[in-house]
Symmetry: C2
Subunit: 482 residues, 2 copies
């Protein structure tokens, strides 16, 4: 390929090492994932970006439904009085909601907030429809937009409006609700690993970091290429706190009135940001095959020559018929331009086919993530391509895992934390904690890393709290958060 | 089945003839399609209702994508200054939008409306991304929620928030844009007939009834069971009016700056209301098989008897494996209760299987729409069930078409209109029109029926306008609208 052309394309992206934040924004714009709008803090999700979200939705939705969940749709407005019903919840969310005060020319009697999350509406609905243990559990989910009035915004990572799913379930017993909370965290973790090729750490949030109104918040945490941590999904156990605030009761098996137990869990379009920052490189995006809108691009070489375009079309038809998302680019742009373009867009596999390949009944298969090329026979192409897609997935996962391992530091003192970060750059810190919020705050203040979660898989780094030296209760995963 | 039980269920629904509006609301609530909320004019779409919407979405989305359309997602907020850019458009929508004035505790510098429709945002985006004829056409669509601050609301038919898809396309030439407008109207009509079993009339709206900012609005009109008309989908041709207002230009093939031509088109959750009012009866909902969340319910009879439940499960497995959406109800409720319950929910086909059936290797297949039952062999059950589902679809369509034909009146004078409506009840009126808005208004004022559309398929009823007697320009379809 013409090196000059490639450089010409690529020089438009800032290098990761030079300015990671700018590199990120460059990819969002140049890979045509988003567009800016005149609505501050809100973005257009463009077709290529939205197609990734559609894959994420379809994949997760099937996992939810297989476990018996049903989709619903609640209103997007919440009356102020309803938001105010659960004390912790309103304190957590009121400062960051958008308020609707007028309908047409008329001032509303009561102002409405645009949902920042929908616990209150689900609770109101549950209080209407749940009467007996026979009505339980309800395993509901919705795919909707929500709004949080953030001061500083970034595409996908933190925008005033974003898309998400929010599961809301309600159960007879605490045990059942806790099991649901854990189950859904596992669904998220499996999805991240199996479909996004992104390793995650499962754990519980500390008290200070819980969801507003929850008894316990579980989360999956991923490490981005730059060593910063990203919370990729959360699952909350509410106990019966919301039920009490919203007066949801049911007649139990002993014919007594009882409060049910609830959960909620969600992931957002933020996952697209996670994909970019986990797998991308200086050539652009690198997409995991499971969510790539285009899995294979076919670039015909010298396709005015006899037979080339015909063969390219044959390959296209074969792959398409076998369920592979394939694109044939027979535009007038040069092959070099096309290589750079589809690398920027993160297409996992590229097939090149030219006149000489035809003679030998072969083509060239290139993989995006490692820039490797090999010659492949045109026989049995579908199974070869499927193997390549699997190879890309595994390669992306391995690389992300290695990055995380390289950037995870086990530390026994504050000095060790500071030193590890200084010497190796940002990353996860594994260090012991006594359970005191004062120490949690102090670690962040002094070293810059905050508690991400208390991992389910505990390691014994030391017997003492990294901060105060008192007896340690658990190992905490610390990091700088997106 | 126990007649008494059935009556007990059914007496909860108001009869159609007694009070059609109440019958409608009863079905929405008792078939568990919706729930009320404390947000005035907004509803919960419950799992059974949302599952119908998911089928509608999947079906239409596949039709859109097959024609090259791509999904995107625009912000839900529109700054007031952006809404104000196209004069007719803002006049049409400003009186019925919800205004966000505060983010958290802070008053916004400029208030934002919650989108009532998204022409303005698409135009802003198009002005950013379209430069050359090579960038055209863009065939975008989005599946989102919108808000219109209606005074009087009814579930699905008119709610302050509703779900819809809005297609927005932009083209080099007027011809191409007009062809798109017509194509999408045909997609809607085909979908209504093929998937909703609902016949529709395709036509053009009169000048007074156009979308705010459009050059031409096309619509599909359906006749409900009570003889009222329901606009089931619209497709608008904008010419270059929005392009001029939003300064969208491109370099054409002659290397000159030019304005592109635009369209938009949409259908909403209102279609669920149309299904209810087209096919429902005094026993409840009757769902077209293509969008029914449950296509077949299996009710085992006396299933404590040996072999019954096993066979019911076998049938379930067979139908499920063949892609039929099937439910086996082995709950403790009586068969009679179950019959009434799934009739209420509109499940197209019911299979009953009891001990005597087992002996004869048969089951009973009942169809919801005509309450017919027949005995069927257990051999080849899938293909028999598929035939039944087709029969239900065709039966629903034929019945709806007959209802429309019976309630379509050709009239040559105002008196004939009044008489036809008085004698036969509400319905479509086919009558000639001179094209003058004064006559259009007068027909409505005097007879109560407004212009629904100018059907593409014109009939010659008379040479003169039904109102003023002057030379007629076209036949108009008139009706009372939902």
């Amino acid at each position: 390929m013409a090196k000059k052309e490639k450089n010409k394309m690529v020089e438009a992206i800032t290098s990761m090492d030079e300015d990671f934040a700018k590199w990120y924004t460059d990819i969002c714009l140049k890979a045509e994932l988003i567009g800016y709008t005149s609505v501050k803090g809100c973005m257009v999700i463009r077709p290529y970006g939205y197609a990734i979200w559609e894959r994420i939705q379809a994949d997760l939705d099937a996992r939810f439904k297989a476990l018996g969940h049903e989709n619903v749709c609640m209103p997007m407005f919440i009356p102020e009085s309803l938001l105010n019903k659960e004390k912790d919840h309103v304190e957590g969310f009121a400062p960051e909601v958008a308020w609707v005060t007028h309908g047409g020319a008329e001032k509303l009697e009561e102002r409405l907030c645009v949902r920042p999350t929908s616990e209150t509406l689900f609770c109101e609905h549950y209080s209407n429809i749940i009467h007996s243990y026979r009505d339980l559990p309800k395993l509901y989910n919705q795919w909707v937009n929500v709004v949080r009035w953030e001061k500083t915004t970034r595409p996908f990572l933190r925008s005033r409006e974003f898309l998400w799913q929010e599961g809301h379930t309600i159960h007879e017993t605490a045990e059942e609700a806790i099991a649901e909370t854990e189950q859904m965290l596992n669904v998220y973790a499996d999805f991240c690993e199996q479909s996004l090729a992104m390793p995650v750490v499962k754990g519980q949030k500390t008290e200070s970091d819980k969801f507003a109104g929850a008894e316990a918040t579980y989360a999956i945490e991923a490490l981005m290429h730059d060593g910063k941590a990203l919370q990729a999904g959360t699952s909350h156990y509410f106990g019966d706190g919301f039920a009490k605030a919203f007066d949801i009761t049911f007649t139990n098996r002993e014919n007594k009135q009882q409060y049910p137990h609830q959960t909620s869990w969600g992931v957002t379009t933020r996952l697209i940001g996670a994909i970019i920052m986990t797998h991308g490189d200086d050539n652009g995006l690198a997409l995991p095959p499971a969510v790539a809108p285009i899995q294979v691009v076919i670039v015909p070489i010298a396709f005015h020559k006899e037979g080339v375009l015909e063969k390219a079309n044959e390959i296209y038809d074969e792959l398409k018929a076998n369920g592979i998302r394939v694109k044939l680019d027979d535009s007038d742009n040069s092959p070099g331009w096309k290589y750079a373009e589809y690398e920027m867009r993160g297409v996992p596999v590229r097939i090149e086919i030219g006149p000489r390949d035809l003679e030998n009944n072969v083509c060239v298969i290139a993989t995006r993530h490692n820039h490797e090329k090999e010659t492949a026979s045109l026989e049995n192409l579908t199974s070869q391509v499927n193997s390549k897609l699997k190879e890309v997935h595994d390669g992306l996962y391995e690389r992300a895992l290695k990055n995380r391992e390289k950037k995870t530091y086990q530390c026994k003192s504050m000095d060790e934390i500071t030193k590890a970060l200084e010497e190796n750059g940002d990353g996860f810190v594994e260090a012991m904690w006594c359970g005191d919020e004062v120490c949690e705050d102090k670690v962040k203040e002094i070293t810059g890393v905050g508690s991400r979660c208390i991992p389910f898989e505990q390691k014994h780094i030391d017997g003492k709290c990294v901060c105060c030296g008192k007896e340690a209760k658990c190992m905490v995963l610390w990091g700088k958060a997106y």
